[in-house]
């Protein structure tokens, strides 16, 4: 038991050293993305911080749900218990988070969702509209293909709404605008993983001697598809599109290796969210009383070799 208490003491020091000084009167904001360490989630945070840095009394705490809705739910409960003032949430699932969001707002916590509005009504949702992003990709790719050809899709894991919506939009565009473009295959990459996207692309290249376009529902997987196509020496004949517009992909677009992506200015998104929050917080407005969730859509921008130049370096994430 002596040893136990000794260890305990050590732990005590460790923990306390970690525990930052808790300012007395602060706004505590919880940032709950689908997972940390992703370019877009980091960019949103950075975008928000560009605003929050001006307010010393704002403390932002991020959480790491590792793509698990049940963890997001549990984090929100915790945020409620800890009496945070606001939550910025990129929901893994629209239904799964509804109950929690409802609870949070009823406790006077402002909830702003990113990219995906949960079913329950909440203060605001700032979206890069997934469906229209997919639609945009479909439209642009169709143009590049001259309205005909074989196209394959690298899907997100089944049930991941973000990816699913983009795919929906894409399929919709193809169906409506290009009757001569055939969607020949669709395979989903477990965990949005790049190496798996490569494997899937390989099997596409294998099964289709004539493949003209590939839509990977995020840039990461598009890069994977690119690697595979390049290795097979068929990159020239295949227009690979992604969605998000992360920095590395934009560079590949400039090099002409990737055909394009639906670029979304995550910094701007983050900044917008932060400004809305500060507005309500400083005026102590609390969650909005409006009957409907205020949805702000940031129109996606089709970044291709031609247009990518228009994206200034400071907006590249």
């Amino acid at each position: 038991m002596k040893r136990t208490s000794l260890i305990a003491l050590v732990l005590c020091l460790v923990l306390i050293s970690f525990a930052g000084a808790q300012a007395v009167e602060t706004f505590k904001i919880a940032y709950i993305p689908t997972s940390i360490g992703q370019p877009n989630t980091n960019a949103w945070l950075e975008g928000m911080m560009r605003v929050f840095r001006k307010y010393p009394n704002v403390k932002v705490q991020s959480f790491d749900p590792q793509l698990r809705a049940d963890l997001q739910v549990s984090y929100i409960d915790d945020v409620i218990n800890q009496k945070y003032d606001a939550i910025v949430l990129q929901a893994v699932d629209a239904a799964a988070l509804s109950a929690s969001v409802k609870a949070a707002e009823s406790k006077g916590i402002i909830v702003i969702t990113v990219n995906l509005a949960v079913l329950a009504k909440h203060t605001a949702s700032v979206q890069m509209a997934d469906i229209s992003a997919g639609y945009l990709v479909g439209k642009e790719m169709g143009k590049q293909l001259g309205g005909k050809g074989n196209v394959a899709i690298i899907q997100s894991p089944p049930g991941a709404l973000l990816g699913v919506n983009r795919e929906k939009g894409f399929r919709q565009a193809i169906a409506e605008l290009y009757p001569n473009i055939k969607i020949v295959a669709a395979q989903s990459a477990e965990g949005w993983k790049k190496e798996i996207a490569i494997t899937i692309m390989n099997s596409f290249l294998q099964s289709f001697k004539q493949l003209d376009g590939v839509f990977a529902v995020n840039d990461n997987m598009a890069e994977g598809a690119m690697i595979a196509a390049e290795a097979a020496g068929r990159l020239k004949d295949i227009k690979i599109w992604g969605a998000n517009g992360q920095k590395s992909t934009l560079e590949l677009i400039e090099q002409g290796k990737i055909a394009g992506t639906a670029y979304n200015n995550c910094y701007a998104q983050g900044t917008l969210i932060a400004e809305m929050l500060m507005e309500r917080l400083t005026k102590h407005l609390g969650p909005s009383k409006d009957p409907e969730t205020k949805v702000i859509q940031i129109p996606p921008f089709a970044a291709t070799k031609e247009t990518v130049g228009q994206i200034p370096p400071e907006d590249r994430w």
Binding site: S35, I36, G37, Q38, P39, N42, Q66, Q155, P157, P158, A185, A186, Q187, S188, G191, K194, E195, I198, T199, I200, N202, S203, F204, L205, Q206, S207, N220, E223, G224, I227, E230, A231, A232, Q246, K247, S248, E251
Partner: protein, 325 residues
């Protein structure tokens, strides 16, 4: 033992051939050099990790920290090369050394302090993920240079991707180390009967220590290769890969109670899974059905290996419990 395991691996090989035959019939584009090389390519990462992960398992332990460590290694090698500007060869050596050290640390807690390997390495999985986040500033970093480094993962030799050669070399080395060296034999002995091994002049602790160190080192190599072929590193890069490695090894004849197993079997196991996935992709089977088929085939493969479903007289196999005794 050796003879039995050989038989086991041969049987596994047969299962693989049957599978390939079936796939060729179903989808003609299956049996082509490019496709086969693609499939083998897709098991490279698992193959490389298995070549080291087999050792803790044979000593009756386990290493669940593979995924986090691999990701961390990728991040480290990138940091060395592109943040500190160290020559890529040196950077890789450093990374592998660090991987070995982390493995050694796990091994120390398991062998010397005698904490169950499962808990130790599971905790390691957790905190190494944290370390990876810290080192990478929680960012997903793209590796675009040096070209030589990228070539490791993306280059080709005799029209086959480099990783295949790397994996084959590691697997062969691992198999050789296990079957043809005193060290390997000692590892097996410790797994089979620690007391007897000890009385025969083997020091189980140091054998364990070395096993985990090996596992750490090979995992680091795997991480480097993964980083090079995806040209990108981040903390969650290889999350949960350890389960796939474990599955491969156990299909390959390894027993979680120790004393049994081989990396060649592990590779065959991984390929069985990979071929199924590939076949499903070629046939464009919708995602939900992939795991169903894979799972069923795994169980069928097991049944075959245990001597069921095959006409020849079934061989009595030890159940887990007897094996434990």
């Amino acid at each position: 033992m050796k003879r039995n395991l050989l038989i086991y691996e041969v049987r596994l090989g047969l299962v693989l051939l049957v599978l390939m035959a079936v796939l060729t019939i179903i989808s003609p584009s299956f049996l082509s050099l490019t496709n086969l090389s693609n499939v083998i390519w897709s098991v490279c990462f698992i193959g490389i990790l298995s070549s080291g992960a087999i050792y803790p398992i044979i000593t009756g332990g386990i290493d669940l920290s593979l995924g986090s460590l691999a990701a961390l290694s990728g991040i480290l090698v990138d940091m060395f090369m592109n943040r500190f500007g160290i020559n890529w060869v040196v950077a890789i050596v450093l990374t592998v050394l660090i991987g070995a050290l982390i493995g050694l640390f796990n091994g120390f807690i398991v062998a010397k302090i005698r904490v169950p390997a499962f808990v130790v390495t599971m905790a390691a999985k957790t905190y190494l993920y944290g370390v990876a986040l810290v080192v990478s500033n929680g960012a997903m970093l793209a590796i675009l240079k040096p070209k030589a480094f990228i070539a490791i993962g993306t280059g080709r030799l005799f029209n086959l991707p480099n990783p295949i050669y790397i994996m084959l070399v590691m697997v062969v080395l691992s198999q050789f180390l296990l079957k043809q060296t005193a060290f390997g034999r000692k590892v097996i002995a410790v797994g089979a009967n620690e007391v007897a091994a000890k009385l025969s002049g083997i020091d189980p602790d140091s054998i364990r220590l070395l096993s985990y160190t090996l596992s750490g080192a090979t995992t680091a190599i795997g991480g480097v290769v993964l980083a090079s072929l995806t040209q990108q590193v981040f903390a969650a890069a290889a999350s949960d890969i350890e389960l796939n490695v474990l599955t491969a090894l156990v299909i390959g004849g390894a027993s979680l109670l120790g004393g049994k197993g081989s990396v060649v079997g592990g590779l065959l196991g991984a390929m069985i899974v990979a071929f199924i996935t590939n076949g499903l992709n070629l046939m464009n089977v919708p995602a939900p059905y992939h795991p169903i088929v894979t799972g069923s085939v795994i169980i069928l493969a097991l049944l075959m290996n245990e001597g069921y479903l095959v006409p020849k007289k079934r061989k009595k196999v030890l159940g887990h419990h007897q094996a434990a005794a």
